[in-house]
């Protein structure tokens, strides 16, 4: 007992140190999505470019990315270039959700910076955003061929994120087919 009390400060230090050290590498903004493994929420929305009406069924059939973007989102511009690269190199279908945006501005954006998306849904009210638990842009979801949500990434997709985090999941989902 006597010995144990002598070591108590060291033990307290180690426990505190462990939690504080972990705290350095944990990203508090990284939230698990509540929707993993759930079907994509139902929606009926027009596309940005020609106003065609699309539903959640139009996203099914293949493993795909669903990317939430907007013209007011500065970092989306950075990400846009990388989405084009993904689309060019992998032929993976990418669907856009144009989140709480002005449609004319969104059209201009797609014309100026090229269009990596199969189509972009015009979610002007942000109602699909709420259904998906979106709290900012950019955000990206991976869906499987049945249209189920398999992964959510909040933030800009970079080469590193793509190689380390997203591509392995997509490859795995494709293998399951």
């Amino acid at each position: 007992m006597q010995r144990f009390i002598l070591f108590l400060p060291v033990i307290i230090f180690l426990v505190l140190g462990f939690f504080l050290y972990r705290g350095l590498s944990v990203d508090p903004t990284k939230l698990p999505s509540a929707l993993i493994n759930r079907p994509f929420p139902m929606f009926t929305l027009p596309t940005v470019l020609n106003g065609d009406i699309k539903t959640e069924r139009d996203l099914q059939g293949q493993v795909a990315l669903v990317n939430v973007w907007a013209t007011w989102c500065v970092s989306c511009k950075v990400e846009h270039a990388y989405l084009l690269k993904i689309q060019n190199t992998t032929k993976l279908p990418i669907y856009g959700i144009n989140y709480k945006d002005n449609n004319a501005k969104a059209q201009r954006w797609l014309e100026t910076y090229q269009n990596p998306f199969e189509f972009s849904l015009a979610d002007q009210e942000g109602s699909l955003g709420i259904e998906l638990g979106v709290y900012g842009a950019p955000e990206t979801f991976i869906i499987d061929k049945n249209g189920r949500l398999q992964y959510r990434y909040a933030g800009v997709i970079t080469e590193q994120i793509w190689q380390d985090e997203l591509k392995p999941i997509i490859d795995k989902l494709k293998e399951l087919d």
């Binding site: 939230l31 509540a34 709420i130 900012g136």
Partner: protein, 155 residues
């Protein structure tokens, strides 16, 4: 100096309290009855803003907080219960959206941790007190007293 700090404390407490009240009514929704408005304020205090994590959606001016307040308004007007509205949010934004976490397996330590630590501290302190008491009451044995006496006599 001490008085200044005290004033500062009082002022900051006043403003903290004040600000929640002002922000809470900023959207200006018109409710069909007064109880709905009260429930709206309560729900806003119960839900966390996913973007600005240490604020409730009542406290936050972030666009997402505004959208969630609007969603709550719509749901209240369509006769959803408080429970249903909170479940709607949790299903989309995760457990995290509850400003006060529910008591379950991953959160029990969060709830009971402080009490457990308090008991551990009381236990350790009482052990220490017991030990120090024992040391003070224990005097010299008869043998030791005799030895002490002998030394005194020799002096």
């Amino acid at each position: 100096m001490k008085k200044n700090i005290f004033h500062f404390f009082i002022l900051s407490v006043t403003f903290c309290w004040h600000s929640t009240i002002v922000v809470a009514s900023i959207d200006g929704y018109v409710f069909s009855n007064g109880t709905l408005e009260k429930r709206y304020q309560t729900l806003n205090q119960l839900l966390r803003c996913p973007k600005c994590q240490n604020q409730t959606i009542a406290d936050s001016n972030a666009p997402i907080a505004k959208d969630l307040r609007q969603q709550i308004y719509k749901m209240l007007e369509s006769n959803y219960s408080n429970q249903q509205i909170i479940e709607f949010m949790v299903a989309r934004y995760g457990e995290f959206v509850r400003y006060q976490p529910v008591l379950n397996k991953p959160t029990w330590l969060l709830w009971f941790g402080p009490i457990i630590f308090l008991f551990v501290a009381i236990f350790i302190i009482s052990m220490l007190i017991k030990k120090s008491k024992r040391q003070t009451t224990v005097g010299f044995s008869a043998d030791e007293l005799k030895k002490l006496h002998d030394i005194e006599n020799q002096l």
